[in-house]
Subunit: 367 residues, 2 copies
């Protein structure tokens, strides 16, 4: 078992990483302020892990709240069912919400905790690789709006994050790959040696080897905790965590939420960020291809949807949260292992990046 700390003054909290933590009361119960607990989960995760967790919480009054599964349900109506359940079971301000599931569950349970009676405690128990290495750490919570992803939400930190690596045994391979997109991201933006480690361990990770998974998760969370500790509300360096996300969000929005997995869209978006960084002369073709190859080996798509035009991208990118006063800012790579957030690039380079033929590019890499 490893413990990391997210350092945010009075809002600091621990991240526990290890096997079978879900069934161990000692990692969860000390973080509960009152007797009431609501476990927010979904129809896919509940049959697998809800009983186990409820047993670990047998000393408390537990209200299970089981939501439908999928990004399409990350919206106000679903959030409302959480509030309904909490009010019907008369949960008061000392209740704790526990998110048991992937990123959608964590984002919704966290936002519900931020808003319920103007804020109650919550704990993250992420059960997908993506949520374990990314969304469960850092306090971003929220829901989607028909006009944009994550447009309604709050910065709201959990009291603890409990990462049980055993839950990855039941994760579909496609979702494991989606999580690896964010793992690779940490290497690209701030940890070049981690890229080398990933090149050596990619097969072990996809084969779910426990020690490799723990190492990759801990190293990812440590990177995220460092960045979030330096910039909780994303006024600066935190935005580098969004490498590939501006392009990726455009893909998700255009295709309809849930058609592409978030990590898949980020993977294709990361390839576009690599290509743009190359066009700006900051990385060379070999470095770009090194990133693309690693994403490919993780089982991820490395080309944007064939049907999306440059105009489609621009339309969706214009209301991204990273747009400040009308100016588009992007996360790009100065070199492998160093990201910058910048609006300082020629429009033509962006257009050329959006218009590039990624299929041909990837074919050439494969040869």
């Amino acid at each position: 078992m490893q413990t990391l700390q997210v350092d945010l003054g009075e809002r600091s909290y621990p991240i526990y990483i290890g096997e079978d933590l879900l069934s161990k009361a000692e990692y969860i119960v000390p973080h509960l302020a009152g007797r009431q607990v609501a476990v927010v989960t979904n129809e896919t995760v509940a049959p697998l892990y809800l009983d186990k967790l409820t047993s670990a919480l047998s000393s408390r009054n537990v209200t299970p709240i089981v939501l439908p599964d999928g990004e399409a349900f990350k919206q106000w109506e679903t959030l409302q069912t959480i509030f309904d359940a909490l009010l019907k079971a008369r949960h008061d301000r000392r209740t704790t919400l526990i998110a048991l599931g992937g990123g959608v569950i964590g984002d919704m349970a966290g936002f519900a905790a931020a808003c319920y009676q103007r804020g109650v405690d919550f704990i993250q128990i992420p059960t997908t690789l993506l949520s374990q290495v990314d969304s469960s750490v850092g306090g971003k919570t929220g829901i989607n709006h028909p006009l944009g992803k994550n447009m309604i939400g709050a910065f709201y930190q959990p009291k603890a994050v409990v990462i049980d690596t055993s839950t990855l045994a039941t994760l579909p391979a496609r979702e494991l790959s989606a999580g690896l997109a964010e793992v690779i991201k940490y290497g690209l933006i701030c940890d070049e040696p981690f890229l080398t480690w990933l090149e050596a361990h990619m097969d072990a990770l996809r084969a779910l080897e426990g020690s490799a998974l723990s190492e990759a998760i801990a190293r990812s969370c440590a990177a995220k905790a460092r960045v979030v500790g330096a910039d909780e509300r994303e006024t600066g360096v935190r935005a580098t965590l969004n490498l590939g996300h501006t392009f990726g969000h455009a893909i998700e929005t255009h295709m309809g939420y849930g058609v592409w997995l978030h990590g898949e869209a980020v993977a294709a978006g990361t390839v576009m960020a690599l290509e743009m960084s190359r066009r700006l002369g900051w990385i060379d073709e070999a470095e770009r291809d090194r990133g693309i190859r690693l994403l490919q080996r993780a089982g991820l798509p490395v080309t944007p949807p064939a049907e999306m035009t440059p105009e489609d991208f621009l339309e969706h990118m214009a209301i991204d949260k990273k747009v400040l006063d009308g100016r588009l800012r992007l996360v790009l790579l100065k070199r492998l292992g160093e990201a910058v957030v910048t609006g300082d690039f020629p429009r033509e380079t962006l257009h050329a990046t959006l218009a590039a033929d990624y299929r041909v590019m990837v074919e050439q890499i494969s040869q």
Copy 2:
């Protein structure tokens, strides 16, 4: 013009109080981070003050958002129209929301600001006495839920509060009285000399005499700022601001939001808190009657709705936010000018308070 300061470290902000501040750019524009501004107001206030404010903001891009008027609209669907308007006009994270209206507008615009893109700036320009002395200061924002008032919300502080006393000229007399309920509350909970001042100036206040209004507003805001500065998230002393509110919320919920004005429900609830404090032997009958008489002179109801039974009250009070782990806590008076939050009272005293005949009590006072 008077300036007070709400002291909350890096979230501190000024309160400006004076005549015609609405049309003076110098109190508003310095608090705007970006070029975009959204003015959230309602159909009643917009025809009176929107143009005036928009002129003062002529150096910025202003999106007016005009909502229907009334507590009945303090709900998710109305909030959604704010998000729709912001996203359609492509407001980014540096936008500022300005609440122009009463408490409902302030609560909704503040909560919208707390949630939009995980938090943007906002400024309060309260146009009712109630919102000027209470809801615009202190950062409580939120909406109602069918199962409870203000159940969904956030603690989120404005960048500034601009109180233009001239707006009270267009306020219906009934709403002026509702505001006076909260003014009297400050005297009861923490400022006995203010009660004496109010007894001397109640007629002047109801006649809208400018200097009396400014003094009453400044003294109320100063009391609120003190309490909020000491306890932003209501873990202790801040709860004393809810004198009469637990009973009052039960009245509002039972009668249906908006049938009784908030201040009217608080006035009747305050009478119940006075009566309960008397039954506990903390204040005597003369002190109780002094409070009741002041509320009466302010033009406020001083008896709960005849149709409400003790059981109705208990049903609605059980899910009040001040209930901690199943135990009902109430704000009561140790003496005039000193409130306590306590769950330490016999259940029978509460039942007797709920069952008391307030009509007979008030008749006797009037004789």
